[in-house]
């Protein structure tokens, strides 16, 4: 009982500490760089180091907070509940719901196949299933928080809204194209045992524990990418010729968006690893639309995931799937470049 009380108390203590540090990041960076390290103001090197010392704790704090919150929220969701919610939904409403649930349901890309089979076996339309499978990796809480931290909340909201739109429309189109004949034949013969495992109700203390576990797992896995990404960003701060990338991928060139998407597909990275690169690209003159398209392509259309899907889908289906999602991402890229956001 005392343990349970303690775990309910911890979030408040940590939150107070969090707020205290977050509101003093500027002062802390000044203190470390100018006082402790004794560096002179105004040089490129000092600027780079200051950027790094300021940015690392900021991004880490945001990350820990949001991963914790998302972890706790997700403890109310599961693939089984999502499947139940989607059963018997009409087409468009099903696509919308599947996309939103794709964000909220805990999902690991290594479970894509069993999840796909489980959904299809329950009679959920292929297009609705795909809305889920597209939204789940594409809209990622780590990407959301990093975008918000580096570019502001407007960009982060745009990312979620356009990501959802791509997932909804792509799933809808896939259903309308009647691609069932391009699904591996054995898929429709799968008979699953539905009363597999009773889910036990979690207490609030359990859910908070899930939140802490999620932070440990995710942050433990990605902190190194973030460190490297910010270091690259800090290094680029003033060193790389300013308009080098802008000339290739800047505003004037129509092919920037498709090129960014093509470059993104073979690259496989988690969202955390890609954002710092996006930050550098934008600093060097790549427009937001192009940068977002690149990011979505890397996390939403990855070669490893395509290879996994090959187990259950024929190549025609995969080709159409990639084409539809890539078209969606291209449109998002063009839209933002046009709007000059």
């Amino acid at each position: 009982m005392r343990d349970r009380f303690k775990i309910l108390l911890w979030p408040f203590v940590l939150l107070a500490l969090w707020i205290l540090i977050y509101n003093n990041l500027h002062e802390i960076a000044d203190l470390v760089v100018y006082r402790l390290m004794g560096l002179k103001e105004g040089t490129h090197l000092t600027e780079s180091i200051w950027f790094f010392i300021f940015e690392v704790p900021k991004v880490m704090l945001l990350l820990v907070l949001i991963v914790f919150i998302v972890g706790v929220i997700r403890s109310w969701f599961s693939a089984e509940k999502t499947r139940k919610a989607l059963e018997g939904k009409s087409l468009f409403a099903g696509n919308v719901m599947a996309s939103v649930l794709g964000i909220l349901t805990p999902f690991c890309s290594c479970s894509a196949i069993p999840l796909f089979l489980g959904f299809v076996e329950a009679g959920i339309p292929i297009g609705v299933t795909f809305s889920f499978l597209i939204a789940a990796p594409l809209i990622n809480e780590v990407a959301l928080i990093l975008l918000a931290g580096l570019f502001g909340w407007k960009v982060a909201v745009i990312y979620v809204v356009t990501g959802l739109t791509i997932a909804i429309v792509s799933g809808f189109v896939i259903e309308k194209l009647k691609l069932q004949k391009y699904v591996a034949d054995w898929v429709f013969q799968v008979k699953a045992n539905h009363a597999a495992m009773e889910e036990q109700e979690l207490t609030l203390a359990d859910r908070i524990q899930v939140g802490f576990d999620t932070v440990k797992e995710i942050v433990g896995k990605i902190w190194i990418y973030i460190l490297i990404g910010i270091a690259v960003g800090a290094g680029a701060h003033g060193y790389v010729p300013e308009d080098y990338l802008a000339r290739i991928m800047g505003e004037g060139s129509w092919y920037a968006v498709p090129l960014a998407i093509l470059l993104g597909v073979p690259l496989y990275s988690n969202a955390a690893g890609i954002i710092p690169i996006v930050a550098v690209l934008m600093e060097k003159g790549v427009t937001l639309g192009t940068a977002l398209a690149f990011m979505m392509s890397v996390i939403g259309l990855s070669l490893p995931e395509i290879i996994i899907l090959k187990k259950v889908l024929k190549w025609q289906f995969i080709a159409i799937f990639v084409a539809i999602v890539a078209t969606g991402i291209t449109m998002v890229g063009f839209l933002f470049n046009l709007l000059h956001l």
Binding site: S78, C110, S111, P114, N193, H194, M197
Partner: protein, 78 residues
Amino acid sequence: MEIKVLGTGCAKCKKLEELTRNVVAEMGVEATIEKVEDIYKIMQFGVMRTPGLVVNGKVVLSGKLPGTSELKELLENA
């Protein structure tokens, strides 16, 4: 005890098999441990999230890698 570790070969699935073998050895119980990688067979247990753990034909865990003490508890109660 008859234990099956369900998983198509992801990192977590391999970890779970390893962990299960260690815990079983530590507990000193008689058990057969089998890794099920065939997706068709995995589906028959109704598991949508891997890794999964089946003890004596019953699914006791799905979609996460448990800690050592949690796994021990699961095996003891099964």
